[in-house]
Symmetry: C2
Subunit: 340 residues, 2 copies
């Protein structure tokens, strides 16, 4: 039996759900791929770092986090040190997003690829800020580089593009990809006040303590930049996206749109204009009959238009943390499938 060793950088809710899924599915993985997946390292910023080259006991690690809030025998090694020195086959980059730079996740990934290690990133920063460079570095070093979770959790948008858009040229991308703003706009429409909508979103766990990055459209800008980089080879960054958030949208505007049979949604998109790619994030009024008007709360949609396949949309309905974990898991299965 073969072994595939992971080094996991960052172990928040999605990481822990991923760890549980790995434990649960291990018998099936072994049966299917004749390979045992072991976790050689888990790095956290405040809960300690575990390194065990023969494989961390994930169930025990989970119990410690649940019971003590940290690893009992955790060390203080940092993510970069682990990326550069530990013996692993796949780096799993789950550190928190730094939306204005993509760092230090980009450096972690570069370190892994330079060592010839495969990389899975659930962090969209590197895909939004440095995709072309990382893609080329992966190719030069014969490494796999997957990032399914970065835009739509477990829904297979990049996988679809890799496997299904054969010889198609993507000419337009359009999406609703930010839960926080989609939720707030939906609540405004129901007559809930802006501040109350934010509080409710925080209570339900999908609105950040400081929602500015969502409300101002930065999160959507990072996601559309990532999509444009991968699907259109745009070489863009979130800073290049023509960005307008929902901070200027009033309850009166939402109500007025509703009366006219429309819904205000925060759209993001990428187009080709005079041969150049151009990205945007902006609030737009959508007619009730449009599929985009049906995307509510934490659901999301991406429409991809190509020269040969026409327009196809992918909708993810009300994802939970388990779907994010599944996205990382499915990338892991793709590494198993394609690295042998």
């Amino acid at each position: 039996m073969k072994t595939l060793k992971l080094a996991i950088l960052g172990y928040g809710n999605a990481g822990r759900a991923y760890g549980k899924l790995l434990v649960e599915k291990m018998p099936e993985i072994i049966k299917k791929h004749n390979t045992e997946v072991k976790v050689a390292a888990i790095v956290t910023k405040t809960k300690g770092t575990l390194i065990e080259e023969n494989g961390i006991d994930l169930a025990k690690a989970e119990t410690e986090l649940a019971d003590f809030g940290k690893f009992r025998d955790g060390t203080s090694q940092g993510a970069m040190e682990v990326a550069e020195t530990v013996d692993y086959d796949v780096l799993v980059e789950l550190t928190p997003l730094e939306i204005f730079s993509g760092q230090p996740a980009i450096s972690h990934i570069q370190a892994a690829l330079k060592r010839g290690k495969h990389v899975i990133s659930a962090n969209k920063g590197p895909i939004a800020w440095a995709f072309r460079e990382l893609r080329d570095l992966a190719a030069e070093n014969g490494c796999l580089f997957y990032y399914e979770t970065t835009v739509m959790d477990g829904a297979p948008v990049f996988n679809l593009a890799d496997e299904a858009l054969l010889m198609c040229k993507v000419t337009e991308i359009r999406g609703i990809l930010n839960s926080t703003t989609n939720f707030i706009l939906g609540e405004l429409e129901k007559g809930v006040a802006y501040e109350d909508a934010i509080e409710e979103g925080k209570r339900r766990g999908f609105v950040e303590a400081d929602p500015a990055m969502d409300v101002e459209g930065w999160d959507a800008a990072a996601k559309i930049a990532a999509l444009m980089n991968v699907l259109m080879d745009a070489g863009t960054t979130p800073a290049d996206i023509d960005r307008k958030g929902i901070e200027g949208i009033t309850a009166a505007q939402v109500e007025s749109a509703r009366e006219r049979g429309k819904a205000i949604k925060l759209l993001c998109g990428g187009i080709i204009e005079n041969g150049k790619t151009k990205g945007y994030v902006k609030p737009e009024e959508i007619g009730r009959g449009d599929i985009f008007a049906s995307i509510e709360g934490t659901s999301s949609v991406v429409s991809i238009t190509t020269d040969l396949m026409g327009t196809v949309s992918i909708v993810e309905h009300g994802p939970e943390i388990e779907q994010t974990a599944y996205g990382i898991f499915s990338d892991t299965m793709r590494v198993l499938k394609n690295s042998c």
Copy 2:
């Protein structure tokens, strides 16, 4: 340079659009795969059969069909004879659907697989009536068997399942997959009379001369049977699907639904009940806010619910014949990719 030889059975509008796409993309195919795709045979029922083991001149064949309505040097060999005797690598099954049996397409495919030939089918009959047997026969003979076009033209529903639903168990499928009924219901809603809607659909080319198979739900039953067979290993047939068409739906019912903020749609679905798969086709009232209510005219949707990935929907927007051709083309590219 390698060669991949196709034998194409059936060469109607979709087949001809596929032929044009092959010609147009040949330089790119050769560059990418170092393989020339040649068509060794084209069989038609009424326009003659071409067999040229060094490769048919597709542009010339198209000109003959356009100018004379048939091949000038066509012979009378039949599909089964070609499937069994011509030297080819991939059988491309594009004969018309026989919805109550899947024949003779099933026999054509069996003949090819028994000879160790790969198969692409745009005919849904074999997938709806005999998928399990054909899948196993393909596996026994080390053959690839693709059928992307059978349910949603060029939209990648089976490809998605193959590549992206890794270790997921499909628990429910739900779709709107019949254009004719979706178009008729939409027209009824606008106040157009049933017969006028049918005439308009015929004029626009997507309603059959005899629309009974669509109106009575047989086409949707074949599509949901195909989806259930592939995604749920259901081993079902169109005859097993609990089927109700739209022949009983009146303009008054559609209007009444509209007044209550709903739209009547012909849904098809597959569920698991007491451990058994169960398929249905039936008209249903859908709330205006639902994504299914936004599917109009020839657009279609499939929602797939799994244990790990949650619910993901795929929507195809207003496909034309070029999208069907692209579905067959993308299967051809997958054969190139996966047979080397």
